[in-house]
Symmetry: C2
Subunit: 236 residues, 2 copies
């Protein structure tokens, strides 16, 4: 599948490509490819040589780590419009540090690292955009480490929920989980069984109403505050 169908405007909408001129964009598209993935199919594996980076057009991609014993940990869920693996070119070894597989049917744009590096060589503006991009990945990962070490499972989930709330929501909101619950659970480093229990507890305590992959938050302010302290009345 070649890239003749890729629209320049589609790329320009992404901050990373927002500063490219027509010639640079054409240059990038020349070596770009469209990749179709079926559900469950891998885009790349950990440790594999990285010659491309990607932008997801549609579907959901799961970035995850595998342990020798077979257990897995979802690092990030990519949704339509996001780029990923754009920083790998600058790592020594230039191999993907995670696995990437499709959660459902996906359409992915694949760009040549080599071509993009050539463009970066000529454009400090795009360098700056990539560095801004990389810094948001750094901040995201830092937030994850914070969550893993300083928050308990329930708090990780409520924070996750609150991050899904569309801007502008006032007091309540209904969130649709973008992936099977066990995938969200892995993203939050929680076992499916624990995730289920957390959901039940939050519902029992009146914070949310969960129905399938829809979660209704009754009060945005209460959630996150009340839940924050695991044992507010421990010493009474």
């Amino acid at each position: 599948m070649n890239a003749s169908k890729i629209l320049p405007g589609e790329l320009r909408r992404h901050p990373l490509f927002g500063g490219l001129d027509d010639a640079q964009l054409a240059q990038l598209l020349e070596t770009a490819r469209i990749i179709h993935l079926d559900e469950g199919q891998h885009l790349f594996q950990c440790q594999q040589q990285a010659s491309q980076f990607f932008m997801l057009r549609s579907g959901t991609i799961r970035l995850y780590l595998s342990a020798p014993d077979g257990s897995e940990k979802v690092i990030h869920l990519i949704t339509a419009g996001e780029t990923f693996a754009e920083a790998i070119t600058f790592m020594e070894g230039q191999v993907y540090p995670v696995n990437a597989s499709a959660l459902d049917a996906c359409e992915v744009l694949a760009f040549s690292n080599q071509t993009f590096r050539a463009i970066l060589r000529e454009s400090t503006d795009t360098c700056f955009r990539l560095m801004a991009d990389m810094s948001t990945w750094l901040k995201r990962q830092l937030a994850d480490i914070d969550a893993l070490t300083l928050q308990n499972a329930t708090l990780r989930f409520t924070n996750y929920l609150l991050h899904q709330v569309p801007t502008g929501a006032e007091h309540e909101a209904t969130i649709k989980l973008g992936a099977p619950k066990h995938v969200i659970a892995s993203r939050l480093s929680i076992q499916p069984e624990s995730f289920s229990r957390i959901l039940r507890n939050l519902q029992r305590e009146g914070h949310i109403i969960a129905e399938g992959n829809l979660i209704h938050i009754k009060d945005l302010d209460t959630l996150g505050q009340t839940v924050a302290q695991p044992h507010p009345f421990k010493n009474l």
Copy 2:
């Protein structure tokens, strides 16, 4: 304290500055400052406006996160020669995402973000160096997330130990912990008490000999393999 005493060669040894020409280096040094920190003193606090990044000349700096309940998590220990906070200029908000304090007396070089950005504008080579630098931070954090989610406390510690082993060591090695044990423990997201137990267990099982802040590894190959499976004979 001005920067008249900063030697250009000192900076050039660091990969980040390795591509700067004399004029650029002079420009950077013009707005650089030397900062002396006493033990325990803060270099910056989380959420503080970031107008500088740093290179540590001597001593040890602790980068850490704080939770509202007062608990802390050491993210990284900076040792002499390392740069840090160099990526913050590209984050939106441009505030430090962590705290930084001195574990002992430190001498720190502080560089102006504004000046460095000006240099980056003129030098894609230095952009590439900074991106390589940022990608190693990304990979480090990923390794931490991996460790936190897919490894237990003992494994995190043995992996940490093995990373401290100087290259070239054959079968055994003696590691000197570069910080108080409770700081290393926090770096590994382990409580001091648990850390102490892990040390005792590894010693009882004959893997290491611990004496103060010195840890002797009896067999580099055995450690990391034998220890890897928590319960190898669980089902016997």
